[in-house]
């Protein structure tokens, strides 16, 4: 029974991946067949280019070759977007999901035509969705929830599916025969897990480490896989997931909540009443300690976000140097490309190290905080 179960588990995840893509393509095709004059309220904008509706992609071919604005290009690559840019002018429009007073609205972001058209009372303004009136002016303070599948969300789903696939197949292999020698991807992941358990989690937390081990391993692999996928320049990588401060904020909040929830009396006493502090200094110590407690997850968040984003900016900057120089003089472009590409390769190696290191540091610091929270109170020694 377990034998067949693990075999099915191995194929379930890619099966779901395919189902997800097929469903998306189907929905896209269904919306693509909608005639344009059903968009009643907004004035109809003539299509600037001939769009070919194929299941997976849309070609918008109206930009003439423009000068490269390096700063804008870099910022576009770092930031989130409502369509996934593949190559040149090819991009996959991602679904927009908006919840407002009238309920849920679900449509493809190609309706927005890269910010030129409004649809159903909404429009993309500076990469964000804004509610607009019928003549196109933005309604201030409109309250709606933008729950769209943006580039970062789609990339996160992809990373999660990959992670589930890897981990479930490894777990299946352990369930089948736990004493068998590791094979395949198991021999890559198992040393990592054992390294984390023995060198990071057990020394930091002590005897109660098993309670926190699943969360810490999940955090490590989630950050590591998302960092690595952010480095891949083409689809389905290339979305700057861990460089999105909202995502790192959520991860840091998880750590903070788990630390606070598991803090025992000694932990809170250390914060509110640090031992060995003379009485007259106490009113000053308490705000400092409270700020210190909040500071730890905030710094976790900023560290991960800034490291990954800075790495991406540096690599993109080196590569756009080629184009900047090429605009001045074609030969100069070729010459600079040698230097630029070699620097980029070096930065990529560094970024690989940073990808692992940041995941490791996040996990290490989280386990240190957990260890401090559950630490048994020793007999009062001289502080």
């Amino acid at each position: 029974m377990t034998r067949s179960k693990s075999k099915i588990t191995k194929y379930l995840i890619p099966f779901f991946l395919i189902i997800f893509y097929v469903a998306y393509a189907g929905i896209k095709m269904a919306y693509a067949d909608e005639p344009k004059n059903e968009i009643a309220p907004t004035p109809e904008k003539t299509e600037i280019s001939a769009s070919v509706h194929s299941p997976e992609s849309e070609v918008v071919s109206e930009h003439k070759s423009e000068k490269l604005d390096a700063g804008k290009m870099i910022l576009e690559h770092i930031a989130d977007a409502h369509d996934w840019h593949i190559a040149g002018h090819l991009s996959i429009p991602l679904p927009i999901i908006i919840k407002d007073a009238t309920g849920f609205k679900f449509f493809s972001s190609s309706r927005f035509e890269h910010g030129h058209a409004a649809y159903l009372g909404y429009k993309i303004v500076e990469n964000k969705i804004a509610a607009v009136n019928e003549d196109g002016t933005v309604i201030q303070d409109a309250s709606f929830y933008d729950l769209s599948i943006t580039k970062n969300v789609a990339s996160m789903f992809f990373a999660v599916f990959t992670l589930l696939w890897i981990m479930l197949s490894i777990a299946g292999r352990y369930k089948k025969d736990s004493l068998r020698a590791p094979k395949g991807i198991q021999s890559l992941v198992e040393p990592l897990i054992i390294f984390l358990r023995d060198e990071v989690v057990k020394p930091s937390i002590g005897p109660k480490y098993e309670k926190f081990l699943p969360y810490l391993l999940t955090i490590f692999f989630f950050i590591f896989i998302n960092n690595l996928f952010g480095l891949i320049p083409f689809m389905p990588g290339g979305a700057n997931v861990t460089g999105n401060i909202a995502i790192t904020l959520v991860l840091a909040t998880f750590t903070f909540v788990i630390t606070s929830y598991n803090g025992n009396k000694g932990y809170w006493k250390h914060i509110v009443l640090p031992p060995g502090v003379p009485m007259w200094l106490l009113p000053m110590m308490i705000p400092i300690e409270i700020i210190g407690t909040l500071n730890k997850p905030i710094v976790l968040m900023i560290r991960l976000f800034a490291n990954i984003t800075a790495g991406h900016i540096i690599i993109l900057g080196f590569l756009s140097l080629i184009f900047i120089f090429a605009e001045m003089n074609a030969g100069l472009g070729y010459g600079v490309s040698i230097v630029s590409v070699s620097f980029s390769v070096f930065m990529y190696m560094l970024e690989l190290l940073v990808a692992f290191l940041q995941a490791y540091v996040f996990t290490l610091l989280s386990s240190l905080y957990f260890g401090a929270a559950v630490e048994e109170h020793h007999t009062e020694d001289h502080h």
Binding site: G71, L75, E199, V299, I302, R303, F305, A306, N307, T309, A310, I313, L357, Q358, Y360, V361, L364
Partner: protein
């Protein structure tokens, strides 16, 4: 130019913000260099004194370097915000 003239220029001309951001980023890099240099230096010194501890020392050195870099990157992000907003 008198001091007042300089202050007036700083208060009104928006270009000075970018210069401030550049100087800030440079100072942040100096801070990172000093901090990580000291960490690396003392770690190497200890490894020379006691080679069998070098695994332990290496791990702790990396941790301390990452913590210092956290503060540095905060400064860099602020400077980037100034330049791009």
């Amino acid at each position: 130019m008198t001091l007042l003239n300089i202050i007036l220029q700083v208060a009104t001309d928006p270009g000075f913000a970018k210069m401030g951001a550049g100087i800030g980023a440079g100072l942040a890099a100096v801070g990172a260099g000093i901090g990580i240099g000291r960490i690396g230096g003392s770690a190497l010194e200890s490894m020379a004194r006691q080679p069998e501890m070098s695994g332990d020392l290496r791990a702790n050195m990396i941790v301390a370097a990452a913590l210092v870099e956290g503060a540095v990157f905060f400064a860099i992000v602020l400077c980037l915000l100034i330049v791009f907003k």
